[in-house]
Amino acid sequence: MDTFYIQTFAALHKLGMFSFSKGFVPWNNDQSGSPLDVLRWQVYAQPHVGFGKLNVPERLAFSTAALTLNEYVDLDPDKTGISLGTVFGSISTDLRYMESVESGFPSPAYFTATLPSSAATEVAIMFKLKGPDRIFVGNETPGLTALENALTLLKLNKASSMLVLLVNGIDRKEKSSPFITLEKGMSTYCYGLLLTKKRSNHGINYRIELSTDDTTLAKNSQQRTEESYFFDLINAMMKKRNIKLTYSIGTLGGSIVLTKER
């Protein structure tokens, strides 16, 4: 049986920033408490002239990737892929781009950011990650699908490490869009996990086991959001604890086990 490890992690959450390298950092007083307000210097020590122009999912994904990969020295970028799950894709940018079309001056910058994949490719370009990328869009389980996919790619030796990102966020002004239901648009967050098939001398070496099991659905009458499971995973690793989560979301059920290796 194959063994897989989480080596680093990070999250942008309404409470603040969580990461293996920096621990928990709350938002500053002059920040609104939303991950949308993350500043470049809070996550990335080097200049990034385009940071201010990134759309919401790009900014969240880049910032979380920077926190995740910060100080992790065992990375082989040529063999590192990205598995990204996103709830909305780039709906805010779609609406902004359409406004530019209607004004008679279509914006090429907005247009290229209308692809749901743009958040993943921004990360790939900035961190020179050249492995296989897959972008999953969906309401219920894009993050778990991305996590499952990353493990599959590692198992098949298609990558030596996989950066898993779960991104949800839309511009504040677009929350009134007819396309965005309250249920979907409630939270803004991004979670990042770096997975490997091998142990590392520089990572946390949390063993991860993911299984899907339809019988879980019947057992779990109380359904939770996908984000809540990701938060539990991050929280357990922050506290250096082992955890077993039994999840049940929509039509997907199963379990995730994290075990800290000594």
């Binding site: 970028p77 892929g81 990205i82 909305f88 894709g89 709906i91 779609d94 609406l95 781009y97 359409m98 079309v101 279509p106 914006s107 090429p108 247009f111 290229t112 209308t114 692809l115 749901p116 994949s117 743009s118 993943a120 490719t121 921004e122 790939a124 370009i125 961190f127 020179k128 990650l129 050249k130 492995g131 296989p132 990328d133 897959r134 972008i135 999953f136 869009v137 969906g138 309401n139 219920e140 699908t145 996919n149 599959t152 790619l153 198992k155 098949l156 298609k158 007819p178 396309f179 899907t212 039509t251 997907l252």
Partner: protein, 360 residues
Amino acid sequence: MNHVVFEQAEILTPLGNCSETIDNLFHGTGAITEGPCFGVPVAYASFGDTSFRALDLCAEKFKHEIISSAFVPEKTVFIYCAAKGDIRALEQKECTQSPLLDEQARLVCDVLAIEPKRIMVVSNACASGNVGIELASDLLQSGAFSQAILFSFDTLSRFVVSGFHALSALSEAGARPFDAERDGLTLGDGAAISLLSYRKAAPGDIIVAGCGSSNDANHRTGPSPTGEGLYRAAQAALENANMLSEEVGAIKCHGTATEFNDAMEAKMLDRLFKEGCPPAVSLKGAIGHLSGSSSLVEAALSCAFIKKRTLPKTFGFEKSGVEESIGISAQPQQFSRPSVLSLSAGFGGLNSAILLKENA
């Protein structure tokens, strides 16, 4: 030994369904027409019946094409592959169709009257179809599912045409892949559905022999000038198939007819096929670039090319406009080894290659 078998496929292109498209390609009939397209002075390739730009109507057309008696919903994953999908709602405020891809995927399942065990949406820009095939192959080989239905849909819209025009990527007269006079791509309408399974392949079955993907990590819209990323994707597909480049029968290029894409693709092909390129074709001078649906459509057509052991001509190609000698031709080309390497590349440096092969 089991293989991922390309069981069935149907497509809708500006040249018609699968058999109509193939007939037209081999009779030298292309679909690119003069603009304007949504008010933009560029050539385009449109469905004969533009009502199929509506996702529900398009899915309805496929309803009876693919779901055979062997379909087992509880063992099936449905994979919707699209760059943007149906975006009429963004343009027409009264349209009730959601622009959100997961809701579109559910709509397609409803129209097809299927309840698969799992629905996934993969959106890897213009490489979405190829990446969907690779994802399906991985899932089938892992044993999680025994069948995969892939559905791909991306059509012409004011949204997309205006965007590519703003990037100065569109040709006014029509795409001429790999030609000296090429000046940009031509967008088109496209949709495809296919059924893949994992089983012991019979002689003559088309199998997905290998898949590979990579990222250029270079630029948002431009490919790596050296073709490094697409080269690595193709190498990975060959290794995955346990094949050497000289065993490849033919190449279905990405071949958009932009200056940079064709130049990089020629470089990577020259590097990959050191002993000389096998016959190669780009379909985008005939049916246009079908965005996220292009690679699933072109994979289905590649299966037919393997059966015929012949590639159609590359429409729009007259005189080579790339430095390397690759197997592009203005005439149909026969090939002997029953396999096609199908290449695809998308914005953000997303590259994907799949190797389709007839089982001996």
